[in-house]
């Protein structure tokens, strides 16, 4: 079936979830990707259960951030947060 991924028309198998689509497109570090499906952000917990349908529009964007403190970034409630609060100075 046809969908649009990052503004490019793409043919994919039917029934793929967001997780499967990220894997199928060989997206590196999928845990650092935000996904928008038909204009709405998909929460990470819903990646394995949200299916992509015919003519859907999917957008992938990587986390964009940085700074002087290292740590593990996690997405929650539509924004990224540094796990554990302060992180480690690098």
């Amino acid at each position: 079936m046809k969908i649009r991924i990052n503004d490019l028309e793409t043919e994919i198998a039917e029934g793929l979830t967001i997780s499967a689509l990220l894997a199928e497109r060989k997206v590196k570090m999928p845990e650092m990707v935000s996904v928008q499906l038909n204009g709405a952000i998909v929460e990470r917990e819903a990646f394995p259960t949200t299916r992509v349908g015919e003519n859907d529009t999917v957008e992938f964007m990587y986390f964009m951030g940085g700074g002087m403190r290292g740590g593990r970034w996690e997405v929650e409630g539509g924004r990224w947060t540094l796990a554990g609060g302060k992180g480690e100075r690098v």
Binding site: D7, K28, M29, M32, S34, Q36, I41, E59, M61, Y62, F63, M64, G65, G66, G67, M68, R69, G70, W73, V75, G78, R79, W80, T81, L82, G87, V90
Partner: protein
């Protein structure tokens, strides 16, 4: 990496500088769009961390900016952020988190009492390569 450069229009540079100064002492961040290697459009995005030491963009704002770029026929060229009190160099964390391939990572530094400094970098396999930045002269500026 030496063959690549990044050009900023005078307007883009001024907007970036103003956004960095307004946000100081917190870090400011955003995106740059244009064509080829010339950034003609500046986006100031929210630093969701509201921190002087790190920044993260809101995914909703990233997607909205990308959509606007496409409608304007522009391409996402780079990501910029400010270093209010440190040099225009990429920190280890900046490099580690440079996930998006082919973007130019621009840092504007307000550190010190002199003129602001700007640095632009490409990141490949967790190594940052500095590339030249050209800030274009202001149009119609009297000589």
């Amino acid at each position: 990496m030496k063959e690549k450069t990044l050009s900023l229009t005078s307007g883009v540079f001024q907007e970036m500088l103003e956004a960095a100064r307004l946000a100081a002492p917190l870090e400011a961040c955003g995106l740059l769009a244009g064509s080829g290697a010339r950034a003609t459009k500046f986006y100031a995005l929210t630093n969701a961390d509201a921190s002087a030491e790190h920044f993260s963009m809101l995914p909703a704002e990233q997607f909205a900016a990308l959509k606007e770029m496409r409608l304007a026929g522009l391409k996402l060229l780079g990501l910029w952020h400010s270093h209010p009190a440190s040099s225009a160099r990429m920190s280890l964390e900046d490099i580690r988190l440079a996930y998006t391939p082919d973007l130019v990572y621009v840092i504007i530094s307000l550190a010190g009492s002199g003129a602001p400094r700007i640095g632009a970098f490409l990141v490949r396999e967790e190594i940052a390569y500095e590339i030249p930045v050209i800030v274009e002269a202001k149009e119609n500026q009297p000589l």
